[in-house]
């Protein structure tokens, strides 16, 4: 692999946590990807915004709470996190409900960002 290759890679998260494993395993990919020094961004659309809803308490379902990992992303220099405005509104949520700093964008603005990517990975 050429060391000069830096690609714009966007991870698209549209699924709620815990109901299915996609959110957790998507996050595992992002953590590995951080080591590759690419131009990484994460976007949360539709039910994906629930992944960042503050205050997950998973004891009762005996499942690992992976929310703290989102807060660790910044340590891996993954700090481009975009959240869909319409998705927050449709779910009675706002930016303050998010467990990490995010940039709120409209679906159309996210669509424009998608156009600029080299690779889009969705789980």
């Amino acid at each position: 692999m050429s060391e000069a290759t830096v690609k714009k890679i966007m991870y698209v998260n549209r699924k709620a946590p815990y109901g299915t494993i996609y959110a957790l395993e998507s996050l595992e990919v992002v953590l590995i990807a951080a080591a590759f020094d690419q131009d990484v961004s994460l976007v949360f659309m539709d039910d994906g915004v629930y992944q960042l809803k503050k205050g997950h308490q998973t004891k009762g379902i005996e499942t690992k709470n992976f929310q703290p990992t989102y807060r660790a992303l910044d340590d891996y220099d993954v700090n481009k996190l975009y959240v869909e405005k319409e998705a927050l509104e449709a779910r009675g949520l706002s930016e303050e409900d998010m467990c990490v700093p995010v940039e709120v964008l409209s679906a159309a603005e996210i669509g424009k960002l998608m156009e600029q990517q080299d690779v889009l990975l969705s789980f």
């Binding site: 996210i110 669509g111 998608m114 080299d118 969705s122």
Partner: protein, 99 residues
């Protein structure tokens, strides 16, 4: 860019999410259960035909045929096969599968 939708519009909001984000001039390929959106009389037909004014829309014919919908394609929507799917992927800079 190429957008790929594989969900029935009556089961999930995937098509709506895709249409809200897709930029004019982009292509949209409907595969698997996504093909139902492009069939006559489906509640999504109008929405899809309206989107066809700004997006280049294709339906994967093998998936349409498998579902008995080969004769029900909505007016103005093009079909393609797996070779055409490959061509859509290669001719666009990137693609987003709306899973």
């Amino acid at each position: 860019m190429l957008h790929i939708v594989n969900k029935s519009p009556l089961e999930r909001n995937t098509l709506d999410s895709c249409l809200a984000a897709a930029q004019p001039g982009a292509a949209l390929l409907l595969i698997e259960d996504g093909v139902y959106a492009a069939t006559r009389g489906n509640r999504a037909e109008g929405k899809l035909r309206a989107a066809a004014q700004r997006l280049d829309i294709y339906v994967l014919a093998p998936d349409l045929d498998a579902r008995g919908m080969g004769q029900s394609l909505a007016e103005g929507i093009k079909t393609t096969d797996y070779a055409g799917f490959v061509e859509l992927v290669t001719k666009h800079k990137n693609c987003q599968s709306w899973l």
